[in-house]
Symmetry: D2
Subunit: 140 residues, 4 copies
């Protein structure tokens, strides 16, 4: 399967459909069924002690799977998350960005499943893992 | 098991340990192993179209289980989320708060499990469900 | 919403579509969006020490949500599990059956979500909780 | 980290602690933090139509994470599953074994998290994914 959107097009797309959070994220790399997304960690993403918050990690995982799907099917803002599971395994490092490595395990006609590992930049071991299921609206 | 904190004490506690998000949440009701928490929905919680965002729902579920645990064991800021699963079932109503009904299913020595249903205020059916597992640090 | 199948019809249905496991399960009670199912615990469901195995608990939760859906939409053997999450919270008692209390949280046109608590018969607190998502095939 | 058990020792271990299901599984390969396990698919693992059942897939994922942990910490039969999430993505092929590729994402002092992809032998794409959390009992 070929990509329908480049990383630049994905960045533009997210600015258009999620303007509130667009400046949080940059697509670092995209390939068929795979994407790498950076969360530019700022004060609003932190918990006391300087660690990235759970909702920020959820948000990064969620947007990564969403963009991985868009890259494959083209810009269709209506896909919605139906299910997610997350394991929080290590404390994120403070003062560095969070990097998401996402792989689509399934891209069906109506359901897509993406697997995500989240890394504090520069750490070898993931701070969290997530799986997200998206429901894709029918063609017309 | 008796409560160790009242709803007022929980509100104070969250102001102290999570000042960034304290104004988002109010404890509506607390009972042994149960809590009801309100998310005061504001622009920063919304997605385009006026629906509450996934990270905001995650955050409400997470804080609800956390506060339900604190109510039972007393204020110990160090409990951390280790695992979560969420099902997003209906689109939240726009222009209303989100209410979380949380029940602790297990409160062990080292692990606690809480179940949450999230409701748009005034809707009979839940918009989402969540389960959160917390790891509780040892006494000393 | 009204029931389309009685508990007796559900027992017959499972004998027809899942003959391998039909004798494991009895529908104890069914109501709109709710069902109670018994697992007749036998040696093949046990781990050393006499505790019910994880796969047996998974199977009971899964069949419970499936039958709760069938009770509402009528016998359509093709619904399939797409996602599940389970928390194992207490060791099941040995020598007693396992009882599942299931509630459908969503019964949509294409997706259904059911929540389950599993109890060792006679114990007040659940041994496990589970959520199952089913994909329902289109009408024709 | 070095392995504490070989694949042969793991096969012997499972025969000793899980005699009921030992003949179902063979360890194909083991490496630090990784394991490959085969489910020898037999009639008792099937649903009508010849597809592997959900409980059998759960069981394979669960035993894989368990054995991956044992391989790293040595034989300690008391580790227990506390949480699992599974996504069922494709129908397993009939007439072939199921192969599990498992990777430990975390091996902490008290909690371990393992990620699993399940493949029908000979198929390139996974039929299911699973994550399992184990609680590891303290040393003494």
């Amino acid at each position: 399967m070929a990509l329908k959107m480049t990383s630049g097009e994905l960045d533009e797309f997210i600015k258009r459909v999620f303007p509130q959070v667009a400046e949080d994220f940059t697509v670092e790399d995209v390939a068929p069924m795979e994407i790498t997304v950076r969360l530019h960690v700022a004060d609003r993403h932190l918990r006391p002690g300087g660690t990235v918050s759970g909702p920020s990690m959820f948000g990064l995982a969620d947007v990564s799977v969403y963009l991985a799907i868009m890259a494959m099917i083209g810009p269709k803002a209506l896909a919605v998350t139906t299910n997610s599971s997350l394991d929080f395994m290590r404390k994120p490092a403070s003062g560095v960005d969070l990097i998401s490595k996402c792989r689509l395990l399934k891209l069906g006609r109506v359901l897509a499943v993406g697997d995500v590992l989240l890394y504090s930049e520069g750490m070898a071991e993931p701070v969290a893992r997530a799986t997200m299921t998206y429901s894709i609206p029918p063609k017309d």
